[in-house]
Amino acid sequence: MPLDNVVFWVFAPISIASAIGMLLVRNAIHAALFLIVNFFCLAVFFLLLDAPFLFAVQIVVYAGAIMVLFLFVIMLLGVDSNVPIRERLLVQRPIAFILGAAFVVELFLAIRAGVGFSTKAPDAFTANEGGNTQAVAKVLFSQYFFPFEVTSILLLVAAIAAMVLAHRRTRAVTQAEIDAEAEDRDERAPAYDAEAAS
């Protein structure tokens, strides 16, 4: 049995099991940890598919940055100390599972008709010549240069949006209020000084 087959059949059940675990656990922290396992499995698949750059990006961006952000927010909100989430989806739940199973069957038929279950990728990945990262950079900075620049604007907008949304809104303070407060403090200050002197 060739090595990439072995690795695939080891990691595919792990990734599916971790996804199912994410669906079934009640604790949000456990769900996030299952999702991290799933992301690591997908990173291994990227490596098997000759995409080592995406393997690194998957681990750094997803398992590193995004999931840490998720865990941070879960800790911040203290979800498990919250009121238990009511289960009122008694009707939708079985329907969702039935539709999911139907989706998988349909997908199976579509893949068999479209790609075929015996089609294998060519042995040599010629697009990767001279290193995967270099090859991706060549495509990214020539053919997809404009979308690349647009994503930088997107990230900037997202950063500003996060600051605006998460910022605790404080009331604007007028100069009159500041003066009134200062006067108030001046009135109280001599009494305090006298008390301290005695």
Partner: protein, 101 residues
């Protein structure tokens, strides 16, 4: 490359389906959000698999872009969830229904 590409596509479809079921059956906004992340990752896997099949790097570049967009989406989405939690002390999606009608 001995594993047929269809296996990767099938795995990606199953993970996408599990993400969809998660979105449909969960009520905690954070868990719904995590399920959406699972769906995005499943699609990334099929993009990379097609890139390998057609010997073309466009799929990998697209997966890279989808990761960037997912990062931006997570930042804004989590900020919205934190803002909702501050207002209502809850992340249950049933509590946020002012815009439904």
């Amino acid at each position: 490359m001995r594993t047929p590409v269809a296996y990767y596509l099938m795995l990606s479809g199953i993970l996408f389906m599990l993400g969809t079921v998660g979105v449909l059956t969960r009520k905690n906004a954070l868990l719904i959000f995590m399920s959406v992340e699972l769906q995005l990752n499943a699609v990334n896997l099929s993009l990379v698999a097609f890139s390998r099949l057609h010997d073309d790097l466009t799929g990998q570049v697209l997966a890279f872009f989808s990761m960037v967009v997912a990062a931006a989406e997570v930042v804004v989405g989590l900020a919205i969830i934190v803002a909702i939690y501050r207002r209502r002390r809850s992340v249950d999606v049933d509590d946020v229904r002012e815009l439904r009608w």
